[in-house]
């Protein structure tokens, strides 16, 4: 819904009804009210509407409101703890899996690394060096 347009002085009208204006601002609104019957009408309309709205009965929360809040909190707390307990084995399992993958990768990688091969069998390189080159 489009908002009704307001001018500066109009916008002060609500604050005037609430007695929230500085004296100079209040004087500005009073001048407007004295000069403009439309503004006076608008102010009266606002005052009637506010009387209606301010008269709405106070509502009360149900008498067992706190008990319901406490129950929800307990339920969530219990659920949180259960979830944590359930999640723990999975967390341990994840760490173990990551370690296994890392170790496997390292082993495969090491097997292809020439420097490791050299360390394991220093003669392998020497044999390769002295072997005659076949044209």
């Amino acid at each position: 819904m489009a908002e009704p347009s307001t001018t500066d002085a109009d916008a002060l009208m609500s604050a005037y009804l609430d007695k929230q204006l500085a004296p100079d601002e209040a004087a500005k609104v009073e001048k407007l009210l004295a000069e403009s019957p439309e503004a006076r009408e608008e102010l009266d309309g606002l005052a009637s509407m506010l009387k209606l709205v301010k008269g709405l009965p106070e509502v009360e929360a149900p008498p067992d409101f706190y008990e319901k809040v406490a129950k929800k909190l307990r339920r969530r707390r219990g659920r949180g703890e259960v979830l944590w307990m359930l999640a723990l084995p999975f967390q341990v399992l994840s760490v173990v899996m990551i370690l296994v993958v890392a170790v496997t990768y390292m082993l495969i990688h090491l097997d292809h690394d020439p420097s490791v091969k050299l360390e394991r069998d220093p003669n392998a390189v020497k044999k390769a060096d002295v072997s005659p080159v076949v044209p």
Binding site: M1, E3, P4, T6, D10, A11, L12, M13, S14, A15, D18, Q20, E42, G45, L46, S48, M49, L50, K51, L52, V53, K54, G55, L56, P57, E58, V59, E60, A61, P62, F65, Y66, K68, V69, A70, K72, L73, R75, R76, R77, R79, G80
Partner: protein, 253 residues
């Protein structure tokens, strides 16, 4: 135990109408230092009395919050019981549905319980609580709007109830009604009309009307809750009231 480090609140309660996940970061904002209260010498006796009451309430809240941070559940109970009517009232007027309002108000206190560690005690607890409540409410309205939810207060469907004052519809204001069963019925009907028209307002406008005109909060408190500048608050509140006046026009004398 205070779960201040948990950043999400999930709702496993099967009794709740819809599953709900609340991101604490979207509703909990840090409290800010309150400005100095005006000098007592410049206040009227009534304002001085109100300021004294408010200071007493703040002292009580600070004590309860300190105890709650230490894990005292009774302090939490006392805080809930102190503010439950105001928070429930805010939710009911904003959402228009009792069950939904109750669920939301409960949610607000659960968030307070879990986020109390992030409340530094620099601002008033009251405005921090209202900020959480209004953020929770706005998030919920957005969510319900996305789901095309229309469960505002049930308006009586009889044609008479829908008629404006000039045509013999509800005309009773709450203050002017003559006591009696008929007046009670008409008062209730008028409440439903106001609630319906309130629900038709933009949520930002609705919030300002509820905070100021229904709950009677001061401009300064509303500024702290909404984060609006004073000038913006004045003009926005005025626009909100004009919009509501327009909608209630047929029922105004």
């Amino acid at each position: 135990m205070v779960w201040s480090k948990v950043s999400r609140v999930t709702s496993p309660d099967p009794s709740e109408a819809t599953p709900r996940v609340v991101d604490l970061a979207t509703v909990v904002e840090p409290d800010e230092p309150e400005p100095q209260a005006p000098d007592d010498a410049n206040l009227s006796p009534q304002a001085r009395e109100e300021a004294a009451k408010r200071a007493e309430q703040d002292r009580r809240d600070r004590r309860l919050v300190r105890k709650l941070k230490e894990g005292d559940e009774r302090a939490f109970q006392e805080l809930v019981q102190t503010y439950q009517n105001r928070i429930f009232g805010l939710m009911l007027r904003m959402i228009g549905n009792r069950q939904e309002a109750e669920d939301l108000a409960q949610e607000v206190f659960i968030i307070v319980y879990r986020a109390i560690g992030s409340y530094r005690g620099e601002g008033r607890f009251y405005t921090w609580l209202y900020r959480i409540a209004s953020n929770t409410c706005k998030n919920r309205i957005k969510y319900l709007k996305g789901r095309n939810f229309h469960r505002s207060v049930e308006i009586e469907d009889s044609p008479q109830a829908q008629l404006p004052a000039s045509e013999g519809g509800a005309v009773v204001t709450f203050q002017s009604q003559v006591p009696g069963p008929e007046a009670t019925v008409e008062g209730a009907r008028m409440e439903q009309v106001i609630q319906r028209e309130l629900a038709a307002l933009d949520p930002e406008h609705r919030l300002l009307i509820v905070l100021r005109d229904i709950q009677g909060l001061s401009y300064q408190d509303i500024i702290r809750i909404t984060g609006l500048q004073e000038g913006t608050l004045k003009s926005r509140l005025h626009r909100a009231r004009l919009a509501l006046k327009e909608r209630l026009q047929p029922y105004l004398r």
